[in-house]
Point group: C2
């Protein structure tokens, strides 16, 4: 595609690509944009190495002119979009990439890979932290995801309100708080549960979390408090009927005087299981598989579509859109998006438009500049995205946090300008 466009000359046409989704996963009330910060790094670092170029040449994947283009590649255009952590809805123009066709089209896969993955995790994570109320959720899913995806998943979960991750590489790479507990293997390694608990307390102190369900739960809790004393930090339960067991263990801990010892539960938790534990005496949730697989929706349906292009490198932009049947048509033209609030500060609608922005929507515009003339301008600390997400979610109508299936909590309102072209 790139080679043919370079040859026909069309590669130099100024082009606008838009990232959006036609639908949220079945029944979800809102989407969560995550990965923007990683997109900025990826675009900034997007280069072809000599071994890669040699391989493309050896395999005759592209011609000489295309190899030269790739060897010199550097994105010089503009990217703006929703800030990371924002919520989004069907049709929200979450990212807009503008540049020559050649420099913009080549970013499609990396941008979509990052946003589709990270946003899927963040959307699931947001439902979990919302179901957990004020109780901390801990990301523990690394072993159930691709080793690179796991690190990105921990990052996305943190944006959506998770308290910490057990993935040390995610802590190292992204500065996310880390935590962890022992596995059953640690207990099985020692000659007795008591030996294992003693070894862990000796090394980690009384504030540690002891795993109490390797053999008999009640006996393990008794041993744990005997070994650690009543100031034991926490116990973890990883199997069985967690509601029942949490009540039982709480009663036992209280009777043993360990009334400050927290109870952490793990074991295939998802947002529904977390919600079901709301009335149980649980102090934290460790979430693995469901989190890193997006709780039933491991990817988003975000697409990267050409919405406008000029007929010359500097000519006026002309909106374009696929028009065939099959439910995959799209709306052409460069877009703005705004989310006006009512008097109580609750979001009213997702307004997506083309042409001039109505004055009353100006204060509610959602796009921020991310890359300008090839320079990253939108980098921010991860904490900013995290705060933004919690703020944006809190501004949604109350039904946003219902776990049951339903329609998107905000309707997307299209305001298409009458004019066919947009000034350059």
């Amino acid at each position: 595609m790139l080679q043919a466009a370079l040859r026909s000359g069309a590669a130099q046409r100024r082009s606008v690509f838009e990232v959006f989704t036609r639908r949220l996963p079945d029944g979800r009330r809102y989407g969560v944009l995550a990965g923007t910060g990683r997109v900025l790094d990826a675009v900034e670092d997007f280069r072809f190495t000599s071994p890669q170029l040699d391989w493309l040449a050896d395999q005759n994947v592209v011609d000489e002119a295309t190899l030269r283009f790739l060897a010199d590649y550097r994105f010089t255009g503009d990217i703006h979009g929703y800030a990371e952590g924002e919520v989004y809805f069907p049709g929200s123009p979450v990212l807009t990439v503008e540049g020559s066709f050649a420099e913009a089209v080549i970013l499609e896969t990396v941008i979509l890979s990052i946003l589709n993955h990270d946003s899927a995790i963040a959307a699931a994570a947001s439902r979990m932290t919302s179901a957990a109320g004020g109780r901390p959720c801990i990301e523990m899913g690394a072993r159930r995801a691709h080793e690179g995806a796991a690190v990105a998943a921990a990052r996305a979960a943190y944006i959506a309100g998770f308290a910490a991750t057990s993935d040390l590489e995610a802590g190292f790479t992204h500065g996310i708080p880390t935590t962890g507990t022992a596995a059953h293997a640690f207990t099985l390694l020692h000659d007795s549960e008591r030996d294992a608990f003693t070894a862990q307390i000796d090394s980690m102190g009384r504030g540690t979390t002891l795993l109490v369900d390797t053999y008999d739960l009640a006996e393990a809790v008794r041993t744990a408090v005997e070994v650690a004393g009543p100031t034991l930090g926490a116990v973890r339960i990883d199997s069985g009927d967690l509601t029942l067991l949490a009540h039982r263990v709480r009663r036992q801990l209280d009777e043993l005087g360990a009334d400050k010892t927290r109870i952490i539960v793990t074991s295939d938790l998802d947002e529904y299981a977390i919600a079901a534990l709301a009335a149980a005496p649980v102090d934290g949730y460790g979430v693995g598989t469901s989190l890193v697989t997006g709780s039933g929706h491991p990817t988003c349906a975000m697409v990267y579509k050409l919405v406008a292009r000029a007929a010359t490198p500097d000519g006026p932009l002309v909106p374009v859109a696929k028009r065939s049947a099959g439910g995959k048509s799209s709306v052409g033209d460069r877009k703005w998006a705004a989310r006006p609030l009512d008097a109580e500060g609750v979001a009213e609608a997702e307004v997506v438009g083309t042409g001039p922005v109505p004055g009353e929507l100006e204060p509610h515009l959602l796009h921020v500049p991310l890359i300008t003339a090839g320079e990253v301008v939108g980098r921010e600390p991860l904490a900013a995205a995290r705060e933004r997400h919690l703020r944006a979610r809190a501004a949604l109508p109350l039904s946003a946090t219902q776990l049951s299936k339903g329609e998107p909590v905000l309707a997307t309102e299209l305001r298409i300008a009458a004019a066919e072209g947009v000034p350059a």
Copy 2:
């Protein structure tokens, strides 16, 4: 866990960890092991960099002794397991890791990450290639998966019989055949569909694949053959009722004399959609989202469990197993696995045992040595895993390739040795 074990001395106990799954995804008939080759690379390269060690020290994640252990880390033990591409069933000991507790426990996350991801993709891919019969399946899902996972997914799909990938990085990294077509953006970029087709043919030759559903399908097919002539390589249909449209386009191509022009279909295909197209005049399937998300099962439930350990670095191994309630108990001891065949060469059962191997099962043992005393001995070309998978699948009872939900096609038969201990 590592720090506490180093301090208590238990870290030096010889240990055997086993990778297995308690169940296949709901209704699946067999699992497909993929990722072994990547595990070998990962274990060989498993090192901690200075910045990582500094971070662990700065954050007080581990103590001095543990930092020294990590700085010198190098796996010196043994790994054996099912060869890559093999099928597996609940309880199959797909990988066995033997070494000191410390050196083996630390590999848990990376080994599970790789096997859980790659095997999930391979299992879905295997159902797709089986549903496609002899028609080629092309991996086109990179944009719907994490950017690193996408490359691994292309590799796993190739093992399970996919013909090619559109992910050039996967071609570069793993030597998988690559292919690709143009996107709707390429047509929209040009002033007309005719211009776009002409540009593509000029650059890529008449053997290329033209995307014909941007505007009107019938008109696009007519234009395509006018521009390329009757030797046009292929057309791609990416939306609509694919069965209906494939018949219509086939008729039109034949009438235009392009009776050798192939029809490639894409558009949210999964194994069911592929099976439903069996009677349609389709020459190839491009599969994206469903493939890279494991067609409903994006991860496997593989776990990494301590099954035996010595009480001293060189003492005899003692089987260990979690015994608590909650359905997560496991069978201790180091295991062998065999898959005997009947007179017709059809697999009869998945036999998993401990202790001595019965003589009649010796020829059917599934484990191969992968790492011996820290040295990789099981590396092989990707093509070997691919051939092995097709062979192993072909040896399963016929019901293996039924797409409907059902029980695993082979029962797992446990043969537990009477003795409690195993000779060192």
